[in-house]
């Protein structure tokens, strides 16, 4: 199950750099309110209908509530887990892992991406290695991760790191390569040192192009942490649902899944907010 859930996303991530993303993919930043009231109403109706149908079908016995507990039962168990603290403890463990793994991947992936974007020679050395490793889904690394790091945080960091590394690398690589040569020349003829060129030109010029990949990588990291916890950890939301399954507490399994979905959505929404701010200068300047 989890393999299928994770793999397509990773493939999509791998394909991103080839698609040559436009720096400002959404026009909504200039279109005022990003969601009209009508859209919100329709969204609410859609999700409400689904929940009602789900509740109705389980209440009527059309859905076996052992296989899929009703939304009310799920909410109830979320409430219970939040009261006894298990939800928060496990959520905190997962968040810590995704943060550490993500930051490690940023440090390595972005640095390497910048260097490869800057130097053709290094790019030709490094890219085959990256291309060779990229198709291996993080799940396939689990046995090795357990062998190297045992069960626990280190394995999870490692898997998140692997999942985030490639989109971050390609984000930085394509961003640097797509920077307008004249902007670099402008900085150089104004006497910019290497450091000033890097910090005041290369980084800000590439941020708008990198942002979608930063967001994508975070989403992948979140999936990887859950995957890792299903197998290679003894805390975290992934562990929580795996543990609940073994105890036949199916409503807790679904509650854990809901928590994972909600947190993933919130993380992505938060990064998208930052993204819109970063992109504020970009659209018309790069027409």
């Amino acid at each position: 199950m989890t393999t299928q859930a994770v793999r397509p996303v990773l493939d999509a991530a791998g394909a991103v750099p080839e698609q040559k993303q436009a720096p400002a993919p959404r026009a909504n930043s200039t279109g005022g309110r990003w969601r009209s009231r009508r859209t919100v109403a329709l969204n609410v109706i859609g999700i409400g209908t689904m929940l009602l149908l789900w509740q109705g079908l389980t209440a009527a016995g059309a859905i076996n509530s052992f296989l899929l507990p009703s939304p009310v039962a799920v909410l109830d168990s979320l409430w219970e887990m939040s009261k006894d603290g298990s939800l928060w403890v496990n959520l905190a463990a997962s968040l810590k892992r995704v943060c550490v793994g993500y930051l490690m991947a940023c440090a390595v992936g972005l640095t390497l991406g910048f260097i490869c974007g800057w130097s053709q020679v290094v790019a030709e050395l490094v890219r085959p290695i990256i291309e060779a490793l990229r198709p291996i889904p993080p799940l396939a690394w689990v046995p090795i991760a357990i062998l190297w790091f045992g069960l626990g945080d280190m394995s999870a960091y490692f898997l998140v790191f692997l999942g985030c590394l490639f989109p971050l690398f390609f984000g930085a690589y394509t961003a640097v390569r797509s920077i307008d040569r004249n902007q670099i020349n402008a900085a150089l003829c104004l006497g910019a040192s290497r450091w000033l060129l890097f910090s005041s030109v290369l980084v800000p010029a590439s941020l708008p192009i990198m942002m979608p990949n930063l967001r994508l990588a975070l989403g992948i990291g979140w999936m990887c942490v859950v995957t890792a916890e299903l197998i290679a950890a003894q805390t975290g939301l992934g562990y929580l649902i795996q543990q609940s399954r073994m105890l036949f507490q199916i409503q807790n399994v679904v509650a854990g899944m809901v928590a994972i979905g909600v947190v993933g959505f919130l993380m992505s929404a938060a990064v998208e907010r930052i993204e819109r701010r970063v992109n504020a200068w970009a659209p018309s300047e790069r027409n």
Partner: protein, 263 residues
């Protein structure tokens, strides 16, 4: 020209792209030009005649295949703040306000914060952008962007200003106004200016000497020395010397430009 007055000495410069390969392009062949301190040179020619290449060699962005480019007796070996560039597409830093854009070269020179803010404001005022300091480039018009880019290039007080078709992307009225401003700014500052253009009247209006280039391979074809005084003003466009020079140049260049048009 005495050696002390000679600011830039371009001698026997050639630039070949992809030298030795089947599709090599001779962008410049055996270009020779001495430029005096404070002189305003217009490089005029149809597109593809190597104007940008020559400017880029002068800036130090590229190196010549053969020959030498000497500034103050020393060979130009890379970009530095004594020669700043104004680009046709402005190349402003889109994430910085106009003020911060103009401050960039001063920051690179490690001018203290308050001082550089003051200098930048002063230069923005000189190009009539007071009140727009805190705008981002995408919030202002093309003409204003180019003014800001000129202020940015002048703020670090370079010896030489290199301009590559700076008015090429602007509408006709803005272009005329900016020509006069550029003439005023350059004669006030006394800087050596090398100004690339394919506008005949623009070249004749602005320059001490119009260096006419021709393509395939790029080379200097003739040099026209101006008789107009500085700074140039709007009335000079009606000056008999101006009009006859423009039309003579047009007559001599027409065959070449038509040829280019047909390709």
């Amino acid at each position: 020209m005495t050696s002390s007055a000679c600011h830039i000495d371009i001698s026997h410069v050639s630039k070949i792209f992809g030298a030795g390969e089947p599709g090599e392009v001779v962008a410049l062949r055996d270009v020779d030009l001495k430029i005096a301190r404070g002189e305003f040179i217009a490089l005029l020619g149809p597109s593809g005649c190597g104007k940008s290449t020559l400017l880029s060699l002068l800036a130090g962005f590229q190196t010549a295949t053969s020959g030498a480019l000497i500034q103050n007796g020393r060979e130009i070996s890379g970009p530095d703040a004594s020669r700043t560039v104004v680009f046709q597409d402005y190349a402003l830093f889109g994430w910085l306000t106009l003020q911060k854009n103009v401050e960039f070269g001063l920051k690179a020179k490690k001018v203290p914060k308050r001082e550089r803010a003051e200098i930048a404001r002063d230069f923005l005022a000189r190009v009539q952008l007071s009140g727009f300091e805190d705008k981002l480039p995408h919030e202002v018009s093309g003409g204003m962007k180019q003014r800001a880019a000129i202020a940015r290039a002048m703020a670090p007080d370079p010896e030489i200003l290199l301009m590559d078709e700076p008015l090429g992307a602007l509408d006709a009225q803005t272009r005329v106004l900016l020509q006069e401003e550029i003439s005023r700014l350059s004669s006030e500052s006394g800087k050596t200016v090398i100004f690339v253009t394919h506008g005949i009247d623009e070249a004749v209006f602005l320059a001490d000497r119009v260096v006419v280039m021709s393509p395939r391979p790029g080379r200097i074809r003739e040099i026209v020395t101006s008789r107009l005084p500085f700074p140039r003003t709007a009335e000079m466009r009606a000056d008999p010397w101006f009009t006859s020079t423009v039309s003579n140049l047009w007559e001599t260049l027409k065959p070449e430009w038509q040829k280019e048009d047909e390709q």
